[in-house]
Symmetry: C2
């Protein structure tokens, strides 16, 4: 079960009751997540490389955090019915579509502990597989009958593409400023969490003020999630994250710990420049990685990146104020602790 998987990647050394609370959260939406997984499993399978590229990624599962957001938001209102299930599948397909295209764009090699679809089936198949999943997602959103959600999904996609465009434009440059950095993480991660919360809230029939509160919650949750993603790129265990260590940096992407370190210690600049110049198809030298990692520690950049993620998680929890007290609100508060505690 997806949220159980999520719990498994959280650190033991989090607040003592995190594990218990995650189990409660997990129990509360267990049937809904099973329903989601059964529905996702119905996606057409055939022998074409395009279809296999898409299923290669989907079959590796992932954390299903965005569908869990849809389920949790829905359950604050009505039950998790067929329309909500369609929307949960849609958000996972949208996410997967962007991953397939991102891996082509970044020449990504590992994802969820396995070689990327593009390495197995080729770039061409991944481009088409991403297109296919995008269309499959949009069909389900349209079918849900919530037409406003489709318009918002288009806006979300616009923001995601714009963020990818900024990231591409700044690839290999170390002059990305904070403003651009936060625009990128909002576009590439927070916006889809925002949409997932809105989708669930809409399907659940929540009033406008609660829908807006949940969108703000999703924005902060997504940002916290991405900040920890940045952290794990340089400080995570690849056996847990399923990604190659330093892959963001290797792909020329500025991450928050690095941005902080560059502000605090000018001597890191030349080190990073060397790193960014390394050919994308060669592994980064271990010694160079170790030196960067040391700088991130001595400048306090890793610590402060995690601290900011924690603040954004707290901001997410604060957004829950307008919601009625109950298991739904408690579950969302628990979910907000996941990004900060996760190790993969």
């Amino acid at each position: 079960m997806a949220v159980a998987r999520l719990g498994a990647v959280c650190r033991e050394r989090g607040p003592r009751d995190v594990a218990t609370r995650l189990r409660d959260l997990s129990d509360w939406i267990a049937d809904d997540m099973t329903g989601f997984e059964v529905e996702l499993e119905k996606l057409v399978r055939d022998e074409s490389v395009v279809n296999r590229s898409a299923h290669h990624l989907l079959d590796l599962g992932g954390k299903h955090l965005r569908p869990a957001c849809v389920a949790l938001a829905t359950k604050l209102g009505s039950d998790f019915g067929p329309a909500a299930r369609d929307l949960a599948v849609a958000v996972e397909l949208l996410h997967s579509a962007t991953l397939l295209h991102d891996d082509v764009i970044d020449l990504g090699e590992r994802r969820r502990g396995r070689p990327t679809a593009r390495l197995i089936y080729g770039n061409a198949a991944s481009v088409l597989a991403g297109d296919w999943l995008l269309v499959e997602a949009l069909k389900r959103i349209r079918r849900s009958g919530h037409h406003g959600l489709l318009a918002r999904a288009f806006e979300t996609l616009d923001e995601m593409i714009a963020a990818e465009a900024i990231q591409l434009e700044n690839r290999g440059r170390i002059n990305l400023n904070r403003e651009d950095y936060f625009r990128v993480i909002d576009g590439k991660t927070a916006t889809l969490f925002r949409w997932a919360m809105l989708a669930g809230a809409t399907a659940g029939g929540l009033p406008a003020d609660q829908r807006a509160a949940l969108e703000r919650y999703g924005t902060h949750l997504g940002a916290a999630f991405q900040l920890v993603d940045d952290l794990l790129d340089v400080a995570g265990d690849p056996r847990v994250t399923g990604k190659t260590a330093f892959s963001d940096l290797h792909e020329g992407k500025m991450t928050y710990p690095l941005l902080l370190a560059l502000e605090r210690d000018v001597s890191i600049r030349r080190l990073v420049e060397r790193l960014l110049r390394m050919p994308p198809d060669e592994p980064l030298p271990l010694r160079l990685r170790a030196r960067v990692h040391r700088k991130l520690l001595t400048t306090g950049s890793l610590r402060d990146c995690r601290a900011l993620a924690r603040r954004r998680a707290d901001d997410a929890i604060a957004c829950l104020a307008p919601l009625p007290d109950g298991p739904g609100r408690t579950a969302l508060a628990t979910l907000a602790t996941v990004p900060v505690e996760r190790e993969g």
Copy 2:
């Protein structure tokens, strides 16, 4: 003006009155096509490589045949209003999105007489530019208020992706059968013409039987168009077509003339195998191309490919029977002669 451009690529040696009829057609929708072009020109411009990739393709213009289909179908009913204009822009954006992704998939180098966007701005930018134009197209279809058209656009995209998948699967193989070949050209070309006709007919408020007739017309028109495209790949003048000669073959795609020739002369098989084995980044040797071209002539494959295109154009015209007589129907009959007469 777009349809004037279309007229310019038609051969002088067509039926004597083709030029006159095309001028009439062109005059009849001139204001509508100008309205379409003004609207298309409003698409956001910025300095990012993603945006420039998209505009690089759009600025080269193309024949605007699909928007012309929307305009012609609309004018059979009501006038070409803002909703129809949005749909005309949408179909051109959908078409452009697929071209951007296709050029990444096929490593295409020339399009509309210029280097492809991916050669200038990179594959990554073209993937994102295609994603962006796809979303821009779908936003406009949603905004038109014809919700059925959005569902049909998703089906159209599904068919296009499935056709690209078959083509990718059979890349470099010479055993593509007729059934698969016709499925590919229906998916990659005819389906979007079909949708363009339906979009125009819907915006124009035509009754169901006329909408269905126009969809059938679009299917045949698109097939005729693709058959001539196949022909021009091996027999066209690159200065007129704007594409590298033999590029379909070089990309490992089976075309109709080749399929016919292989059925008729087994000796061509080894020649084609050699051609398909040529590295994609090296130009095809002139002598080899000349030998294939000779075989296509001696087997009558080029002649019969054009003859089939003409039959499909005639089929398109026959589909117009349920429509009331008048300038709209005449214009569509003229449009059906364009694929067969075109040289670029």
